[in-house]
């Protein structure tokens, strides 16, 4: 057993990381699906979209051959509508609410139709929004992730000049760095960021990290308002013995490397344990398998009923051949020569419901041991507690506290996205960015 990279041929990598939700091949196929839509009033799909995309309208516009109008409808509510069509867990959002489910019929393929319209808009570089005249106001946005980009786009539309400070070398945030490559490719993410920036009035300064290269005080001084879309940081520590051994990796880092360095460069073990059962855990497990790991096992301390990922996501992992062990909590990682050899887990049982309403796992005292050479930690991410505390921003264990959806305790400083909610979907961050922009526009007396 050993960790190694370059396990597969170029063709195998390409096949393993091919688009998991392929687009409609033809306009006819999209039309058939668009015409299935009932065009509901006050539609459940729209109400189930965190950004409130007018789904029946954009689908109707595909059916009437008004693709430009369709893309405009989508982007009006969600400027990352193209990316969201690929990464949203639609089974628990729009498609999950489609009224066809109540007829025991397949729901409308909303995501696929959304992809159809938005890809055409991106490919044609249709700039569907025109900036209003300059207001003379300047806003700094920290983080070029979904929240920051969404906020910046709304502000730019309203005639505000925006400067985004991004610590990475590319924009897109977790869309670019934190999602399985078979959902969105790095190239797509780059294209999407460029498309969003195409409106003009947004300058991005890359490799600029808050607290290191820039300070909040500076930003406050130089801009009329500041929006913090700083996201969350590294994976939560397990706080168990052996966590420092070679072979214990952070899921976010693992996914980041796959996207930033390319498939052959990323080492993976023969036998991999993934701790957690959220979307990131699934993305890490499936990609470990697709990079050539022989055995991948997801370890989760609760049962299937409490899992944070959707059924669809779990099915992807299972279809990839990943194993799942429920009611197992990592107790220690054992190694030799500084390298991971075994993962010891406690057997859990369900106790009383906790604050989230889910029954909390209780240690039974029994343990079992798995032979593994790699452990991927995906038990949630930790907010930037130190950073935000340093700036005296109200927070709960690092999660920023906001009023009226976006205002922090510091005047002129606004926040949203994962930095506030602790880590949700891309689409939630996009909405947070819109809310932030609305609050900033009110604050600046624009509109």
């Amino acid at each position: 057993m050993a960790i190694s990279n370059n396990r597969l041929s170029k063709e195998q990598y390409a096949e393993n990381f091919t688009d998991i939700h392929p687009p409609f091949e033809t306009a006819d196929a999209a039309l058939v699906e668009a015409n299935r839509c009932l065009f509901c009033y006050d539609a459940p799909c729209t109400k189930s979209c965190p950004t409130g995309i007018n789904v029946p309208k954009f689908i109707k516009q595909i059916a009437t051959d008004n693709i430009k109008g369709s893309a405009h409808t989508i982007f009006s509510s969600n400027i990352m509508g193209a990316g969201c069509s690929k990464v949203c867990p639609v089974e628990k959002l729009c498609e999950g609410a489609c009224v066809y489910n109540l007829m025991e019929e397949e729901p409308i393929e909303i995501a696929r139709l959304q992809r159809y319209a938005t890809e055409k808009a991106m490919a044609g570089n249709w700039q569907l929004f025109q900036r209003k005249g300059s207001t003379g106001k300047k806003v700094a946005v920290v983080g070029a992730g979904p929240a920051g980009l969404s906020c910046a786009h709304v502000l730019a539309r309203e005639g505000v000049d925006v400067t985004i400070y991004e610590k990475e070398g590319k924009g897109g945030g977790l869309m670019t760095y934190g999602i399985a490559a078979y959902k969105v490719t790095p190239q797509f993410c780059e294209d999407e960021v460029n498309y969003i920036l195409g409106i003009g009035g947004i300058e991005v300064k890359y490799s600029q990290e808050l607290g290191k290269d820039i300070s909040l005080a500076e930003l406050k001084k130089n801009f009329d308002a500041v929006y913090l879309g700083i996201g969350v940081g590294v994976a939560r520590k397990l706080d168990i013995p052996g966590e420092k051994l070679e072979g214990v990796v952070d899921a976010i880092q693992f996914i980041y490397d796959i996207r930033a360095k390319g498939y052959p460069s990323v080492p993976v073990g023969d036998k991999v344990a993934v701790i957690g059962m959220g979307m990131t855990a699934i993305d890490a497990a499936t990609q470990a398998k697709r990079l050539g790991a022989k055995e991948v096992t997801l370890v989760y301390r609760r049962t299937e009923a409490e899992k944070p990922c959707t059924d669809v996501e779990l099915d992807i992992a299972k279809l990839d051949g990943c194993e799942v062990i429920w009611l197992a909590a990592p107790q220690k990682v054992k190694g030799s020569g500084g390298k991971v050899k075994q993962l010891v887990c406690s057997v859990m049982k369900l106790g009383e419901p906790d604050a989230s309403g889910r029954r909390s796992p209780v240690d039974t005292g029994e343990t079992f041991t798995m032979n593994v050479d790699m452990v991927i930690k995906a038990a949630g991410q930790v907010p930037f507690e130190k950073l935000v505390s340093k700036y005296k921003l109200d927070n709960t264990y690092g999660k920023l506290v906001v009023k009226d959806k976006a205002s922090t305790n510091i005047k002129g400083v606004f926040a949203g996205g994962d930095a506030v909610n602790g880590g949700k979907e891309v689409v939630d961050a996009v909405q947070a960015g819109k809310d932030g922009a609305a609050a900033i526009l009110r604050y600046l007396n624009i509109q």
Partner: protein, 422 residues
Amino acid sequence: MADISSNFLGIKSPNPFWLASAPPTDKKVNVLRAFEAGWGGVVWKTLGSQVKNVSSRYLAVNFGAKKMMGLNNIELISDRPLDLNLKEIKECIRLFPDRAMVVSLMADNDKKSWHELIRKVEDTGAHGLELNFGCPHGMTERGMGAAVGQDPEIACMVVEWVMEAATIPVITKLTPNVHSVVPTGRSVVKAGTNGLSLINTIQSVTGIDLDTFVPNPYVAGKSVFGGYCGPAVKPIALKMLTTISQDEITNKVPISGIGGVSTWKDAVEFMLLGASNVQVCTAAMNYGFRIVEDMIEGMNNWMDEKGFKTLDDFIGKSVEKITHWEDLDINYHHIAKINQDKCIHCGLCYIACEDASHQSINLAYGKPYNTYTVKEEECVGCNLCKLVCPVNECITMEEHRVAPEYLNWIEFQKRGLPLNDH
């Protein structure tokens, strides 16, 4: 099993499904395939003057994902040599002696041409003639087709010529491109036609190419009005058929129903409104001759279910059900009811009623599913909600009579009852 054999003016066919005079019946190879598929009869594509066709010829109106809700054509009468058509008609009759062979005719506008054409066609052994007084394009400019059917006097004259020569049953096909089909219908019945058929196609423009601005169908940068047919025209055909079935002169002769017949249900509807048989074209052009299989079985099963032994048991049964507005019972009232177990919360009933009818549906907000209920006191019973609902039997109309007795508009006025009270 019911007996669906048909006898139209003595022309017998194993079922009442004939193919209308059109491209599917223009030559032996098609007609033999149609008979093999089970069609009861054909009306051979119109024979007459020498013509020359153009390209293109057809265009359609689609509805959503559904293709060919309506079809439009600018094809003329048969453009094959007359002798070849006559020879093939004869062969088809010989190979399928139990099927109806009616030949559509449109001679030049003189008695001699008609007599000559009738003699030649009768020599084939054909069972009947259908006079094409309906074709709305190409031939009208030459004083034929709809130009004849639109003028009762000319139609009368031509039928009189025909009846002088014909020894087999004559059916006159009526054009719908008139304000009423009854005047020409009456005129040709008086002139002696043995039967009527309707409708022919309706003049139309099916659409325009938004890049070239040329309407359809495209012929070298120009277009013309074409004849519209298919499912879209069925309601118009049924209305015109009803006027013929209810007129005391025209209802003395048998009627062959035409206009968007695609299924056994359509056929039954035409026959309930007085057609003795039906003619089909667009559905066959869309799907081929095989559609007749279900038409035969479907009608048979329906007749068995209803206890009808022969076609005559139900032909014309609905004619008297269509009345004048002032005879309708004003005391009849029904109210929509939404079955909450079946409702899928699409909101289509709500928005249709709210924006376009009587604001009679209540919306109780829910996330993501709203609840919709009928405000009974507001509902006028218009049916709109039921029509837009995608779930079968989810919205039903429940009878709530205003009063038990029948009350029509005339009586209502006499009694001085309140008007404009909703």
